[in-house]
């Protein structure tokens, strides 16, 4: 437990060491926040409710999504750092230590998520709330459930990234597939447009994926339109994905290390 905390702190500090990069990233998010907010405002001139979201929900979506994207790690610097470390052999050295790699990576990622939540997501959301009219839940319960959902989203985000990065055990040239994965992740998590806006059955089906659990799920809860009308169900789905991905990650890591040992790296 102590080790987890130390690793989380390390993950936090690695990002805290580059405040310049954080401000720049925050600035980028704000710029895009503005642009997408204006686009959605224009969209809502044509309709009052889309996918269960009214205009204030949609603006809230924009300002939460921009920040949450970096917290959950949908893209950004270091996305495939693990893949690189697998190939340079750094991971092999790590494997020789009495360290649970997966758990260590998770702990560091949580630290990172914490840093970006505090220094990117929150300031950005506050700015958006000051400049635009967006949904602000009155009941504390919903905020709490939102926070829980975000925590679960971070876990799911880690699970997805961990699995995709491990492909570098087998693929010498992992960049192509990783780019594809990031693209799929972007769309299916709702980062490009709320999944609720997707036509027909897609709006429901996409929200069952682990990607949706990274971003759309917490936002749905915040806005008050969880899938199937049940916040508990959404949280349960997130938790299930988090556990499933962690287990899958473990299996794949074992298979990968076995391959490493047999082939000699």
């Amino acid at each position: 437990m102590r080790l987890d905390w130390e690793l989380a702190r390390r993950g936090y500090r690695r990002y805290a060491a580059y405040p310049g990069a954080t401000y720049a990233g925050l600035f980028t998010n704000v710029v895009f926040g503005f642009l997408i907010a204006y686009i959605l405002l224009a969209v809502y001139e044509q309709a009052d409710v889309i996918g269960g979201y009214d205009v204030r929900d949609a603006i809230a979506y924009v300002w939460i999504a921009q920040g949450l994207m970096s917290v959950v790690g949908i893209f950004g610097a270091g996305w495939y750092e693990l893949a690189r470390r697998v190939q340079t052999g750094d991971v092999a050295t790590d494997l020789q230590r009495p360290l649970d790699i997966q758990r260590a990576e998770l702990a560091q990622d949580v630290g990172r998520a914490g840093y970006q939540a505090v220094w990117r997501a929150v300031p950005q959301f506050v700015l958006g709330a000051l400049l635009f009219e967006l949904t602000l839940p009155q009941d504390a319960g919903r905020w709490l459930l939102f926070a829980v959902s975000v925590a679960l989203a971070v876990l799911v985000g880690f699970g997805v990234r961990f699995l995709v990065n491990l492909c570098s055990f087998w693929l010498l040239d992992y960049r192509g597939p990783v780019i594809l994965a990031i693209g799929a992740n972007l769309v299916l998590s709702g980062a490009v447009m709320p999944l609720a806006f997707f036509p027909g059955a897609l709006a429901t089906l996409t929200r069952l994926t682990p990607f949706a659990a990274m971003l759309q799920a917490p936002i749905d809860i915040y806005v008050g339109t969880p899938l199937g009308g049940s916040t508990a169900a959404v949280l349960a789905l997130q938790a299930s994905w988090a556990i499933a991905l962690y287990a899958a990650g473990r299996l794949v890591l074992t298979a990968g290390t076995r391959k490493l040992v047999i082939q000699g790296g």
């Binding site: 310049g20 990233g25 204006y38 686009i39 889309i50 192509g176 447009m193």
Partner: protein, 267 residues
Amino acid sequence: MRALAAIYARLVGARIRSQLEYRLSVALQLVGVGLLTATDFVAIAVIFANVPALGDWSLGEVALLYALATISFALTDLVIGHLDLFPQMIREGTFDQILVRPLPSLLQVVASDFAVRRVGKALQGIAVLVFALATVEVDWTLGRVLAIPVAIAAGALIYGAVWVALATIAFWIVDAIELVNAFTYGGSFLSQYPIGIFARWLRGIVVFVVPLAFVAYFPALYVLDKEDTLGLPEALRFASPVVAVLASIAAAAVWRNAVRHYRSAGG
């Protein structure tokens, strides 16, 4: 001028050749980039699955905007996308190496890379262009037919000028490159949409200060023979090439000035 173009072709040719040695890898990345950037269009598609118009622009019309902006930006990205790494060049002293060679510094920086995988972005833009032209009704004249490649070329120059001018920040504050990205990628994203939907102050900037509106918006108005709800002078529809040339001249001046500052103050 011709000699410089020849040298550029040689330098870039060498880079392209060395990348093509890994054909499969490049192809995979190309596809990946194409699909990744197509997500921008997914946004537009999803919007129009729910509403019939954005401002007073239909799906096909917005698709045309998107296509012009995307193809232009893809071309710029191909040629100078590596400006992302320009701060690194300064930090590592590579720029000093450039100053010791008998070629203009900007040419050398531009010629220092050419990422073949970025073609994926252009291909995706072309696909959307085909879709757009099939969807909208255009009263095709010779002028309108030519307007599309001209707009793309002018758009690429405008993006390029903006990017180069912004990148010179690296001469003053080496770590400011992320800020530049916010503007270049943000600017590209913005020009995919009809500028009428943005707030007044933003519209003013992209028409009169950083002329992004001339990449796609004005050319599209011309091709579609659409009325401009913003009430701007009609002559602006034809102004893209002129704006592109002026922007390039301005950017070159900004670059020269920045290099002068570097040679006096730093190094």
